[in-house]
Amino acid sequence: MGESEPRIILEIRTVGKNFGGFSALQDVSINVEKGRIHAIIGPNGAGKTTLFNLISGMYDITRGEILYQGKRLNDMKPHMRTELGIGRTFQIIRLFHTMSVLENVMVGQHCRTGSGLLKTFFHLSLKEMDEEKQIRANALRWLEFVGLAHKAQQMAPNLPHAEQRLVEIARALSMEPELLLLDEPAAGMNPRETMDLNALIAKINGMGKTILLIEHNMELVMGISEVISVLNFGEKIVEGTPTVVQDNPAVIEAYLGKRKRK
């Protein structure tokens, strides 16, 4: 008694998204609690990645609003949202292909550091050189965190798929986000790699970061999530703990035809 209400870090308020005549999302409202692992599931085409794109700013919101820590995100450019503390990985891995693994992770710290073009040229302050060393050290730390420090110098596209995914996560972590959006991180991973991913997500959550997760791998989702929101045809049909969602007939019906329990 007297337990304070957990803060809502992300508030999606009656959000709708239209692409021309096609309505991808209608009237979706989700509250994400700070510190939770919150999953978004649903059949293909339900609107999950669209929702992520609205949160990270790649698409404009047609109706409704999204609030992050109380701030309205609607007209904010993507890089500003990153600065606020929203990090993201993509369904298809988007590492920078002309850079090494380490350089990729170093890019993540862009918005947390400050040297610009002129300063680079004139090496105006030792501060800039120190900053560069700091960026490198931080990046190595995050690579160690995901277990890939030994591959720091390799060119990013040369790594196997699952490791590239980890590099992407390390890059997202180096942005120092409070809220981390993971879009199908387990895609293309074998069971062993998925287990490691499970542990990694738990570790990240353990640091106090809120995780919003899109996943098709039900074992991973049910195993690690605290809250699950189910989308179908652009609407939220069910929300609750894994047990609640698993047995819900509407959810089962939404997945009908796709019923292989992994």
């Binding site: 990270s56 700013g57 790649m58 450019k77 993507p78 890089h79 990153t82 600065e83 990090g87 993201r88 993509f90 988007r94 590492l95 920078f96 292909h97 002309t98 850079m99 350089e103 170093m106 890019v107 993540g108 710290q109 862009h110 918005c111 947390r112 550091t113 400050g114 040297s115 610009g116 073009l117 680079t120 040229f121 090496h123 800039e128 900053e131 560069e132 960026i135 890059r171 942005m175």
Partner: protein, 576 residues
């Protein structure tokens, strides 16, 4: 009078349409902007000229013969310069076709001379009375032929099996292949048809203008591109209508604007830039992303070395925006602004050399910033066209400004005898800059933007600011190069800063290697010095550049100097 202008406009427009249709067909089936298409038109014009001249055959035989000729030329180009390319470097086809352009145009100048050639009159001209107006029958014939060709093409695309195959391949090579379409043959035939149409257009141009030159290729290429944008990429009917519209618009503009100002070309390029900037429905179709005297025998080396130095600066000016994924054909234009700015500073304002050159650079950077703003929303091919149009506009505007000499050029610029040192001094500064940039936050941000804009933005990079800064920086460097050039040549004229020069800088950078800044430096150095050492090559310098571009795209698109190479070399140096 109006009717006559209308016919003129339609006639001009129909030639634009024929060219644009070719572009659109090729872009549709191959996703490639066939930069050399205009040169095919030029080839057709000359082919037609000589066929008519030597055989005396009437038009209804010589025209199809010419079309067959250019059709074959198109097939050859596809086979040699497009088919062997690796599919993973998306710039390869564009650069390869630029190579073809260089070869064709320079060969034509060698064979036919750089001046205009009179085109015979194969059509008996009679003046037809249309009510109170007199219309030349030749024009009607041309219009009739063009419209018929377009009509036939439309029927081919809509009603024949080949047309269906073309449409299928335009949607997806893979799917069309699965469905039993012979994709390679379809592409080949499309190329042939498009080139045949260009050949026909070439002959029409000859008949209507009464003269042709090896340089018409570029002009019509650009106009055709504008039309393609107007009508929508991959949209054949749009190209047909767009061409007619542009033709009429140009004719009207000539009528409305006083004849002293030659604004015709500015008009087309201006339209192109406006289209690109304004996101008109035009391209809804998806696709659908560098003296003399007391240096002993060293004079020659110094002279070439200076030119090489200036080339290196210009190649680097291309490299900066390239890092952020912006391919610019405007660098020669920026060079022009810097050159003229510096010249005005030295000659008209009496400023010292260094100040003039820097002012030229700043002026260029300012314009670069302004151009960079609309360029933000535009990528890939469109950006190439935007910058190309800009470069041409700069040149045309300079021709019309009497204060800086107009077409006659700006003479008597004070000679800077230490140009060599200034040039390499600038290069040294740039080397330091790029070295620092490589391992810096900004450098990574720029490369990130170049690799994947969306991912870069999610990583907190302000892509707008980054791209703008890069574009303006590239313009600044080009401006400095121009200023140094002006005080070395002592004389500048708008012709020295044409599109082909921008193309040269791209060749330097691409040949040298675009993975690391040493590439453009190496490329500019080698490609400037080599022709000097082999006198025999001098004459064929441009053709060889073109060939080089094609060969590089086929064999080694990443260029000579690669990231790996630089890293190995620096490792070796550190160990010793």
């Amino acid at each position: 009078m109006i009717i006559q202008q209308l016919i003129n406009g339609l006639m001009l427009g129909s030639t634009y349409s024929l060219v644009a249709i070719g572009y659109t067909l090729i872009f549709g089936v191959l996703g490639v902007l066939h930069f050399a298409h205009g040169e095919v038109l030029m080839a057709g014009a000359f082919m037609g000229l000589y066929i008519i001249l030597w055989s005396g055959l009437p038009l209804y035989i010589s025209l199809p013969l010419t079309m067959i000729g250019t059709g074959i030329l198109g097939l050859v180009i596809e086979f040699l310069a497009i088919r062997p390319l690796r599919k993973d470097f998306h710039l390869a086809p564009l650069l390869s076709t630029i190579g073809v352009t260089i070869i064709l145009q320079n060969l034509a100048v060698k064979i036919f001379g750089g001046y205009g050639t009179k085109f015979p009159d194969p059509i008996a001209t009679a003046n037809i009375k249309f009510g109170p107006y007199m219309i030349s029958s030749a024009k009607l014939v041309i219009l009739g032929i063009s419209l018929s060709l377009m009509g036939i093409l439309y029927l081919v695309i809509a009603k024949t099996k080949l047309g269906k195959a073309m449409r299928a391949v335009a949607e997806s090579h893979l799917t069309a292949g699965f469905l039993g379409v012979n994709v390679e043959r379809t592409v080949l035939l499309t190329f042939g048809i498009a080139s045949a149409l260009a050949g026909a257009a070439g002959v029409m141009v000859g008949i209507s203008f009464h003269a042709i030159s090896p340089f018409i290729g570029l002009t019509f290429a650009l106009k055709g591109l504008v039309v393609m944008l107007l009508g929508g990429l991959g949209n054949v009917v749009g190209a047909m209508i767009g061409g007619l519209i542009l033709g009429m618009a140009e004719v009207i503009s000539i009528v409305l604007v006083p004849p002293e100002i030659n604004l015709q070309d500015v008009f087309s390029f201006g339209i192109m830039i406006l289209i690109l900037i304004s996101n008109l429905p035009g391209y809804l179709a998806p696709g659908f992303d560098n003296r003399k005297g007391e240096n002993g025998g060293l004079d020659y080396i110094i002279s070439v070395g200076t030119v090489a130095g200036i080339s290196m600066i210009m190649a680097l000016s291309f490299y900066v925006p390239f890092m952020t994924g912006q391919i610019s054909l405007a660098q020669a234009g920026f060079g022009a602004i810097g050159a003229y700015g510096a010249a005005v500073g030295s000659v008209k304002l009496g400023l010292p050399y260094e100040i003039s050159v820097i002012l030229g650079g700043i002026l260029s950077a300012g314009v670069g910033f302004l151009l960079g703003l609309p360029a933000l929303r535009i990528k890939g091919i469109y950006l190439l066209l935007l910058t190309l149009g800009f470069g041409e506009i700069v040149r045309v505007i300079l021709i019309n400004i009497e204060y800086v000499g107009g077409a006659a050029g700006f003479p008597a610029i004070p000679y800077q005898k230490y140009t060599l040192f200034y040039a390499y001094g600038v290069i040294l500064i740039l080397i330091v800059f790029f070295t620092r940039l490589r391992n810096s936050r900004m450098g990574r941000a720029m490369r990130a933007v170049g690799d994947d804009e969306t991912a870069a933005e999610i990583n907190g990079i302000n892509i707008t600011a980054t791209k703008l800064k890069a574009f303006a920086a590239g313009a600044f460097i080009a401006g400095i190069g121009g200023g140094i050039l002006a005080h070395f040549q002592e004389f500048i004229e708008p012709l020295m800063f044409g599109v082909m020069h921008s193309v040269e800088y791209i060749v330097f950078a691409v040949f040298g290697g675009v993975q690391v800044f040493w590439g453009p430096i190496f490329g500019a150095f080698v490609l400037t010095f080599m022709p000097e050492f082999f006198r025999a090559i001098q004459e064929w310098r441009m053709e060889l550049y073109g060939l080089l571009l094609i060969v590089m795209m086929i064999l080694k698109p990443e260029g000579v100097i690669t990231n790996n190479m630089v890293q190995s070399i620096s490792r070796m140096l550190r160990r010793s």
